[in-house]
Amino acid sequence: MVKFEYLEPTSLKEACALLDQHPDDAKIIAGGTALIIWMRMRLLNPRLVISLEKIPDFNYIRYDDKDGLRIGAGARHREIELAPAVRSHYPLLHETFRKVAQPRIRNMGTVGGNLCQGDPLTDPGASLMALDAEVTLTHSKGKRTLALEKFFVDYYQTDLQPGEILTEIHLPPSIKPLGWSHIKFTPRSVEDFATVGVALTLRAQKDTCEDIRLALNSVAPTILRAKRAENVLRGKKISDGLLREMGETAATEVDPMDDNRGSAEYKRDMVKVLVRRAAQEALQRISLQL
């Protein structure tokens, strides 16, 4: 790891000012679980590392029936996993965060750090996307809000601009009954990255699908929303055949890579199967059996 200076600003304002002063050679550190590995591998060699740990009230998790859920970007995976509001209003998030790596890493890694790393293999982004998350990006002159699905640009590249810090994740209120499913498919052990990850939410009236969100991780350069697959089901009368068609459509929207977790072909085939299973599970959760 190269040598660097290390600063711990005690306000967001101070952190943004530091980023402005060091446009090319500073990096933000939150939990450190990704950044330190990259620095040790000398993939990133910042001259200045700015820690967000001393910024007060940066890890809040607040729920309001009208406003929904607001998560401070500094919240650790473990805090989100265990937050009572998350358990009761967003069981999909609870289920997802408890599958990220293992408890020790969940004690360290933050949700903001996870999203800003832009790693398509990680789990939280897909479930947050399936719940219509938007992120707030703050800079010294103000802030902007962006739908999470627009935030991921390419492998490890996000829409975060120089001088910006991701500060908050917002989810709209949870509308019940909401069918949901999270599948983290790993042929190796659970704490590994997924071979294919599927996050799905849907609402149905009688046997008609009113709305659906489907997001996938580990199968493209970014975590992505499979909109064409969603459209197969949205507004339609749900049938086994249609679920199958949705899986097949999703498989045409992904662009997986051969690696030690499986060949691209295998991953694409698993997308077909797992998307269908995720929809079936979501339907079961709202007691719509097919």
């Binding site: 660097f4 330190i36 360290m108």
Partner: protein, 179 residues
């Protein structure tokens, strides 16, 4: 540029002079001089470097030492008190929870963090919690057994006494002279 840092490890203050890029793992082993914490994978996966910082289990290989100023750090060396082993240490000995021992400090620190928060875990909870601590020799069953034994106080009360007698006996043979 080096910075002067006070680290509080196992209740004692250590003043060390370190570069900001110094990892907690290396600060503990090389600057503080406590080598019980081990380095395995260096990327947060194996758990050999597990320590407890302000009550939370973390990988010291992914933690900057500077970020730990003012925090309470507990390492494997902080567990035995007044010559008495911590129940977890005794359980690992009694139940054969290790072979080569390189993963053991991390296993025990992970188990300690769990039992501190949840003194009565189920086997499933122990398995899930310990999934980030890899062991390449023991087979996980004996580790699980040791943790459950410590949790349910199934460790023998005279272990320490017998152990001390055994050690005293060996020493009385005078084979290894203490200089």
């Amino acid at each position: 540029m080096k910075r002067f840092v006070a680290l509080k490890v196992n209740g004692e203050e250590y003043d060390i002079d370190i570069e900001p890029n110094r990892l907690l793992l290396h600060a503990l082993r090389e600057d503080v001089g406590l080598t019980g914490t081990k380095e395995g994978c260096s990327i947060g996966v194996c758990g050999a470097c597990s320590v407890i910082v302000d009550g939370k289990l973390v990988s010291s290989c992914l933690t900057l030492a500077l970020a730990c100023q003012g925090k309470e750090i507990t390492t494997i060396e902080g567990l035995a008190k007044d010559g008495r082993l911590h129940p977890l240490q005794q359980a690992f000995l009694e139940y054969g929870g290790f072979q080569c021992g390189v993963c053991t400090p991390g296993q025990i620190m992970a188990a300690k963090a769990l039992l501190d928060a949840n003194p009565n875990p189920t086997e499933e909870e122990v398995k899930e919690w310990m999934s980030g601590n890899l062991c390449r020799c023991t087979g996980y069953y004996k580790i699980l057994e040791a943790v459950m034994a410590a949790a349910h106080n199934k460790i023998s009360s005279d272990f320490q006494v017998k152990h001390e007698r055994k050690t005293a006996k060996i020493q009385s043979l005078n084979v290894y002279k203490d200089s």
